[in-house]
Subunit: 257 residues, 2 copies
DNA sequence: GCTCGTCTGTGCGCTGGCGAACAAACATAT
DNA sequence: ATATGTTTGTTCGCCAGCGCACAGACGAGC
């Protein structure tokens, strides 16, 4: 969309603000205000960005990393609520006015993200301009994802859910690889590790994925989609619908007609 | 909070705008703009306010009714995503910028609601004032409820979930009564009717509830809370935290410090 | 009264996922 | 090469919830 030369982050050639779709979608005007405050940050696997109830100091725009919102129950069992990759932002409670959420944000796939201090985000959000609309619309997409997760948890088998989870993850990464142990996947899905082992070995023997000791590779994505429940497609379609507006957005324009 | 005389809805004495907490929380200034456009509407049991994908024509502020957001899957199985009563608004997608959601809004408990045409809500929302903040914060509370639902679906028994569901419903109604068949409850929870029958009869024989042919009455609420999973309390607590700000809100003030 | 439709109770057999316990394969550091 | 810790594979008994089928119980209407 934006052909003008972009500010490069000092020192690194390849990572760029444009790697995050939200950052990419904003106009030059907003960009000039926001970009100087963005700090490229390494997110190591398993890093906890927010603990349940923490007041958020900053928000994160992932580029090649993935962050999971995980709800951890009193007895230690957990369930993934939503996933955020380069299409989104971690820390929506900040601008929604709650400052914290009762869930944990944990790095599911190591990589980088742009960190923005909460006061800068709030300042820009309070201008009620482009970014404001953008973030609200993104939040709506996230809500859809959460709703679908709730329904999927209720009705679908581990086999199907693993497919959904893999697809969600692959969409947020460049290649066809993913570093993740079955134990961790089980935590995300809120199921037993053995259940994941079984589902994964089915997929492997069918030649759809290939894995060993925490490295997963998708070989046959179409087949993965075929074995998946409807949940993945519904969320994808709805996200596409909501994000479509981003590219049509005139500079400084408004979503509300 | 607001001691000034309130405009009464024409003809009816008891129902009043103040019966909805969001409508109650807004200042006199906003009230004057909004109130003239509110239309008191009867919501019969089972009425569908929005079907999945529908563009929303108006939003609803329930007073003594309850509306469920229900996700219906391709095979007809369903799951309740969230519940809205007199503490909230039905149709958040409208102001979030999505215009529709892939879920169904269905009247779970008959009663009344104030209907507001979408253009009026949008207009007021676009002023980026009080109502704007209020609605965003409410949305955050709703997100919490959805997240908890997802986790609850994953880990808790029908017995526990029924307790949660009853408590959520009772909170949104005046008395201790609820008109609802076990069949419908099963749809909401996304479980078998027989499962609900079993769970309900346990509660009845323990003297906690009493029911017959679609009429449920809670006799021992504390015990209901004791048998419930943590999910109810977590959502309640978080809602209280978020709503607390409403009462402190100075007229025309802002949430963002 | 009686009938019919709705709502609730109960009893099958089945299965997906759980919990626990243990074995095998592999990676890395020493 | 060996040892150690991590990751994955396998088994077994168990149970919550499912799907199905049917029986009673109640209420509204004729």
């Amino acid at each position: 969309m934006f052909k003008k030369p972009e500010p490069k982050c000092e020192g690194c050639e390849s990572p760029c603000f444009q790697d995050n779709l939200l950052l990419k979608a904003i106009s030059a005007e907003v960009r000039e205000r926001i970009y100087p405050h963005l700090k490229l940050t390494e997110l190591p696997l398993g890093d906890v960005l927010y603990e349940s109830g923490d007041v958020m100091e900053s928000v994160y725009f992932p580029t090649n990393s993935i962050v999971s919102m995980l709800y951890v129950m009193e007895d230690g069992r957990s369930a993934e609520i939503s996933v955020v990759g380069n299409e989104g932002i971690v820390g929506i409670a900040l601008f929604m006015g709650g400052l914290s959420t009762p869930s944990r944000a944990i790095v599911q796939s190591a990589g980088q993200a742009y960190r923005l201090d909460s006061k800068h985000l709030k300042a820009e959000f309070s201008r009620h301009g482009e970014l404001h609309h953008l973030l609200l619309r993104y939040t709506q997409a996230l809500i859809t994802q959460m709703a679908q997760t709730a329904a999927c948890n209720r009705h679908h088998s581990i086999d199907q859910q693993l497919c959904r989870w893999l697809l969600l993850s692959m969409d947020r990464l460049k290649g066809d690889q993913l570093d993740m142990t079955q134990e961790l996947i089980a935590n995300m899905l809120g199921v037993r590790r053995e259940g994941v082992t079984e589902a994964a070995s089915k997929l492997q023997s069918a030649g759809i994925i290939q894995y060993q000791r925490g490295h997963i590779r998708v070989l046959d994505r179409p087949e993965l989609e075929r074995r998946c429940c409807e949940c993945y497609a519904v969320v994808k379609k709805e996200s596409d619908r909501l994000f479509e507006a981003f590219s049509y957005l005139p500079e400084g324009g408004s979503f509300h007609s």
